[in-house]
C-alpha cells in the first residue's frame, strides 16, 4: 500500500466520487489462487513459508492465501500481521502522526521464507519499511513479496515476486481494496478513485 493511502485519511474518497472497479471479488480470488500455485512452484519447502500481511488490506488477502496454500500443498502456513507505520521514512516530514495499526507475529521469522502480502504496491516505500521491520524480528531465510495490484511508479528498487494484476494509473489517482461492509469483509473489490481528475478540478 502506498504511503499516501496508508493513513486512510489523506485521500479519503468523497461521497459520490466515481469509483471504477479494476478487480472484482471473483477476480481477486482467482488471482490469489494462481499466486498460491506460483508460491508452491517457487518454494520447494512449503513448510518454511510464513505469510506476513501489511495492514489493513494485506490481512484478508493473506488469510485467503493461507487457505489456498492449504488446499494446493496441504500445508498449514502461519499468518502474521506487521504494521509498518513506525518504520516509515516520511514521519519526520509530516506534521500529523499517522495512526498505528495492529502487529501480531505469532511465530519467529528466523530461517523462514517470509512472504509479505500487500494489497496495492506503488512507490515501494511500504515494502522497504516492512523489510526493515521484519529484520528486527529475526533473520528470515528469504523474503518474497505479493502485491494484489501493482500500480507502477516505483521510487525504490523493489520488485514484486507475485502480482495479482498490473494496473497502470496516474500517480494522483487512488487505488484501494475495499469490502462490502465498508470494511474489509467479503466480497472484496479493488477500485480506482479519480484523484487525478479531482486534482484538475481544483
Amino acid at each position: 500500500m502506498a504511503h499516501a493511502d496508508a493513513t486512510g485519511s489523506g485521500e479519503a474518497p468523497r461521497a459520490g466520487e466515481a469509483a471504477r472497479q479494476v478487480l472484482n471479488d471473483t477476480g481477486i480470488r482467482r488471482a490469489l489462487m494462481r499466486i498460491a500455485h506460483e508460491i508452491v512452484e517457487r518454494n520447494e519447502e512449503p513448510e518454511a513459508l510464513y505469510l506476513v500481511a501489511i495492514p489493513n488490506g494485506g490481512v484478508p488477502l493473506a488469510r485467503m492465501l493461507a487457505a489456498n496454500l492449504h488446499e494446493v500443498a496441504d500445508v498449514g502456513v502461519a499468518v502474521g500481521v506487521l504494521d509498518t507505520t513506525l518504520y516509515r521514512d516520511d514521519l519526520n516530514h509530516r506534521g500529523e502522526r499517522p495512526p498505528l495499526r495492529h502487529t501480531e507475529m505469532p511465530s519467529a521469522v528466523d530461517d523462514r521464507v517470509v512472504v509479505l502480502v500487500d494489497d496495492v504496491v506503488k512507490t515501494g516505500r511500504t515494502i522497504r519499511a516492512a523489510m526493515d521491520a521484519l529484520m528486527d524480528f529475526g533473520r528470515p531465510r528469504a523474503v518474497q513479496v505479493v502485491g494484489l495490484v501493482d500500480r507502477g511508479h516505483r521510487e525504490l528498487p523493489i520488485k514484486l515476486d507475485y502480482v495479482g494484476k498490473n494496473v497502470p494509473t496516474h500517480p494522483k489517482e487512488s487505488v484501494r481494496l475495499r469490502g462490502s461492509g465498508g470494511g474489509l469483509d467479503a466480497p472484496l473489490e479493488v477500485v480506482l478513485l479519480g484523484g487525478g481528475t479531482a486534482g484538475e478540478a481544483r
Binding site: 506534521g95 498505528l100 502487529t103
Partner: protein
Amino acid sequence: MIGSDLLGIEHLERSDIERILDTADHMREIGEREVKKVPTLRGRTVVNLFFEASTRTRASFEIAGKRLSADVVNFSPQGSSMGKSESILDTARTLDAMDPDAVVVRHSTAGVPKRIADVLAAPVINAGDGAHEHPTQALLDMYTVRQQKGRIDGLTVTIVGDIVHSRVARSNIQGFLKMGAEVRVAAPPPMIPAAVETLGVKAFTVLREALDGADVVMALRIQNERLMGSYFPSVREYSATFGIDRAKLHYAKDDAIVMHPGPVNRGVELSHDLTDDRPSVILDQVRNGVAIRMAVLYLFAGRPRSGPDDGGKL
C-alpha cells in the same frame, strides 16, 4: 484538538485521550518483542529535565524514548539556585540552544512546565508539576483501567487519600470524568479540596460509602513527614480508617481492581498482601507507563514545527 505540548489532562479532549490510549495499545506490543526497538525517533533528542527527584517516572520516559530510538539525555539540576524561576528559564533556554525534539519536565512547583513551554521551541511534556498535574500518570491509569475492564465509560472510580496535595488525583479526576466515569474521592476532611465537588466529583469522608459499588479503587501515596499531625492524627489512624485492605475492599464491587501510583507505603495506603497480589494492578500500571510514554513521545516529539497539513497540531 490539542496543541504541541502536553501540559495537563485539562487541555485534552476525550478524543485526544482515546487517541493516546489507542496508540499505547500498539506500543505495548513492541515491549513484548525480542528486539524492543523501532527506528521512529532515530536522530531525535529527548531531554528529561527533572528538577525534582524521581527515579520511576524518569526511568519510564527514558526507556520509552530509547525504544523509539531517540537519544535520551537526563538533566537533573540540583542545588538551591534552581529554586529561582530565572534560573529555571535560563536552564531551559540553554537546553533549547541544543535543539532538543522534546523536553520532559518535572518540578515541585505548579506551572513550571508551562513557563518553560512558553520560552522553548521544543514540545514540552509535563512529568509532574507541584500539586497541579501529572498527565502521563493519569493516561497510564486510564489505559490500565481500560485494559482491565474493557472500558472506562460508566465505571465508578474511587480515589482515596491526600486529594488536596495530589497532582495524580487532579489529573485522574479530569481524565476519568472526560472518559465518562463516575469519580469519587475519599479522605479525611482536610485532605479534600474545598471546591472539588464543582468538578463533578462526589466527595466522601467515610470510606465505606465511597467504595460502595466501585469498579476501581485508587489509593494515593501519603507523604508521612509533611502531613503527620496537621491532616490526620497518626499514620496508624490513617491506615485504620482509609488504608485499603481485603476487608474494606469487600465494600467495592466483587471484581474491583486496586491501583496505586507508587511507591506504596506498605501497610499504610494498602495492606501488604494487596500491594503484591491481585486485585491490585500496580505492576501493570508500571508496565503500561512505558507504553503510554512511547505513545506520548510518538505523538508529540519530533514532528516538524508546523506541519504542512495541520499547522503543527496533533
